[in-house]
């Protein structure tokens, strides 16, 4: 009678408890994210790892075709830089998108995301490349002058020291003025991820 919770971690070598303590997720949520992870990691190659193609497929459902933004997100998730995401990388990176994650983490993530060439600054060419990509994705067309103007406007606003580059400090200030830029850095569903992806992980034994 009563309750006894015992752990049987034979199914996975990941220590969910320590992942929970390192991230914004509770233990229940880590288990739920594991269910999501398993689902994504087996959608093309069932090897327990998320490959870039699988990540693309999960986000765009486009049979894994290259995409500037998805590929950037994948590269940032790939903390070990070995071309695949293991569960630890997935949980830690996804934690940034948790509604309770500090805004500073989200700001840093977007900065690194838009710094396509890893130069430590967001440059004009990078912004232009991304604007072109989004226009193409939305089947929209604009003349080059207009695109230049759009990029120019962004730099007038964000590049406060007018050196033609946006550094991290300038980015923080810019995002502070335009908080909507962080909107897609929060996944509201992560709050109830354990309902969306109920964990059926068998590490809880209940006696009732």
């Amino acid at each position: 009678m009563g309750c006894s919770i015992s752990k049987k971690s034979k199914a996975n070598y990941w220590d969910f408890a320590s992942l929970a303590s390192e991230t914004m997720f509770s233990l229940d949520e880590v288990e739920a994210v594991y269910v999501l992870y398993k689902k994504v990691s087996c959608c093309i190659v069932d090897d327990g790892l998320i490959h870039k193609e699988e990540f693309r497929q999960a986000l765009l459902r486009n049979k894994g075709k290259p995409d500037l933004f998805v590929d950037r997100v994948f590269d940032l998730f790939d903390l070990k830089r070995n071309g695949v995401l293991d569960f630890g990388e997935f949980v830690q990176s996804l934690s940034i998108f948790h509604p309770k994650s500090p805004a500073a983490d989200k700001i840093l993530f977007t900065f690194n995301l838009y710094d396509l060439q890893h130069t430590g600054c967001i440059e004009r060419e990078e912004v232009k490349e991304m604007v072109l990509a989004i226009l193409k994705e939305s089947d929209l067309e604009l003349p080059d002058e207009v695109i230049e103007e759009i990029v120019e406007n962004a730099f007038n606003e964000a590049d406060s020291n007018q050196d033609g580059k946006i550094d991290l400090e300038e980015w923080k200030e810019f995002v502070g003025k335009n908080p909507s830029l962080l909107k897609n850095m929060t996944i509201p569903y992560l709050m109830d991820v354990s309902t969306v992806f109920p964990s059926f992980v068998e590490n809880k034994i209940m006696l009732i």
């Binding site: 009678m1 009563g2 997100v73 207009v146 759009i150 406007n153 003025k177 996944i187 969306v196």
Partner: protein
């Protein structure tokens, strides 16, 4: 499973008495040890679920059910699992089954209407989200302690198909089944639910079943022919509504939208959505508002945007990074949102070089034509198109991109699955608004150079 008061589920819920029992599941009352909140826990036997290949059904449906938030739908709070069992922690309806009340005698039309309105509110809300019950019957209609209707098991259709189908007598299940289901033809979930609502309304107002035969053959025949009789004490408006609900042809059967406008449902115009005990939260823009709130938390101190907006210009502007953020590749919510079918997730975007008020005026004309109302939001550059009862249809958002160019984003937050209006956006609104679309190819550029002293070569197709 043993009886007893002191069983603690996952150290969180103290299990109480058994409320109900089925072939696969048992329902217990329970108390959240920390908060003291009373809940109902439905316990499934995992082994039997796996044996019946229902695991994937259950998982998918938990996802759907977990997102349903409506005052007349039993909430699913949490799902827990252990080696042998799956636990659904749900809202507890203390008032018991509505059916128990009807068996004591039929309801007045007034009371029947009150419950029917709440039922339609819940059903409409779910249909709007593409969720169908497919097994509506008095047993699924519960009452809370204030007597408010609570529909249970929404989004659990596949599970219930197995569980209750094997449990009940064939006739018992047949009673609420639509004719097209009996014929084993492919059927639409929405129309099947409408039929069941009709049977329920009949039971509430008459006090007995419309179709009740001793054997399933004659039962099937009666249902297929729509052969029922209304007692002579029913008002003619109610009889007419029932005949529209219990229309054997799903194609001509009344839709939820039409029910809302029915004179009996509206109580001869007295209702009109203003009843204090009852509202129509079908179309609550729940995801949008919740994400706004969550995101608002980070910046609750600063709130820089709203103040800036009002000082500088009427339109909010959109910078390069706002455009970039449109990318679906950056929409990581999709990772978790796979099961929800949402055809209009990304909406339609186009550029226009017309002034904002011209675009809004044009949107107003389109709205008039479609018999929709235009509702201005607090933000100057956002208008919502709403239906006759304030139901949200679509949102048009205008943002300045350059001095001459705005981006117009037309979005239908949810597909409306219960009527033809799911095509409003694609078939009507967008083609009409497309007259506003900026296109730099369609007019000779030299002509435009003379008009604008700016370096832009914009040509706009003006409407007039």
């Amino acid at each position: 499973m043993d009886k007893g008061e002191k069983n603690i589920v996952f150290g969180k819920y103290a299990a109480g008495r058994l409320l109900g029992c089925g072939a696969f599941a048992k329902v217990y009352s329970a108390k959240n040890v920390d908060s003291g909140q009373m809940v109902a826990i439905k316990v499934f036997n995992k082994k039997r679920i796996i044996q019946n290949n229902m695991m994937s059904n259950i998982k998918g449906e938990i996802t759907t059910m977990g997102r349903l938030q409506h005052p007349n739908i039993i909430r699913l709070y949490e799902v827990l699992a252990c080696k042998r069992k799956i636990y659904f922690v749900m809202e507890l309806a203390k008032g018991g089954e509505l059916y128990a009340k009807v068996t004591k005698g039929r309801f007045s039309e007034e009371l029947s209407r009150k419950y029917f309105q709440q039922l339609i509110s819940a059903v409409g809300y779910c249909h709007f989200r593409g969720v169908y019950h497919r097994d509506l019957k008095p047993g699924n209609l519960l009452l809370d302690k204030y007597g408010k209707l609570k529909v249970s098991d929404f989004g659990l259709a596949a599970v219930n198909d197995h569980i209750d189908g094997s449990l009940q007598t064939i006739c018992g299940t047949l009673t609420f089944m639509a004719p097209e289901m009996l014929k084993k033809r492919p059927y639409g979930g929405a129309m099947v639910d409408v039929w069941s609502c009709g049977v329920i309304l009949y039971v509430l107002a008459a006090g007995y079943l419309p179709f009740n035969e001793p054997n399933s053959t004659s039962m099937c025949r009666k249902i297929s022919q729509g052969d029922y009789r209304c007692p002579n004490w029913m008002s003619s408006d109610l009889v007419r509504l029932l005949s529209r609900l219990l229309d054997t042809n799903p194609k001509t059967r009344i839709t939820i939208d039409e029910i809302i406008h029915d004179p009996w449902f509206n109580n001869g115009g007295l209702f009109k959505g203003k009843s204090p005990e009852f509202e129509f939260p079908f179309y609550h823009d729940d995801t949008g508002s919740s994400s706004d709130d969550l995101y608002g938390n980070f910046f609750s101190v600063k709130q820089p945007c709203s103040s800036v907006k009002k000082n500088t210009s009427i339109t909010s502007s959109m910078n390069a990074f706002d455009l970039i953020a449109f990318s679906s590749g950056l929409g990581l919510s999709r990772l978790l949102n796979q099961t929800t079918y949402n055809p209009f997730e990304d909406g339609e975007k186009f550029f226009s070089s017309l002034p904002v008020d011209v675009i809004i005026a044009k949107t107003g004309e389109v709205a008039d034509e479609l018999k929709l109302k235009l509702r201005r939001r607090k933000e100057d550059c956002v208008v919502d198109l709403v239906g006759p009862i304030g139901n949200f249809i679509a949102r048009v958002e205008i943002n300045q991109v350059t001095k001459q160019l705005v981006i117009v984003d037309v979005k239908m937050k949810r597909g409306d699955f219960m009527s033809n209006s799911n095509n409003i956006l694609r078939d009507k609104l967008i083609p009409k608004l497309s007259q506003l679309i900026y296109s730099f190819e369609s007019q000779p550029t030299n002509q435009m150079d003379t008009i604008h002293d700016h370096q832009l070569t914009i040509a706009a197709i003006y409407v007039d």
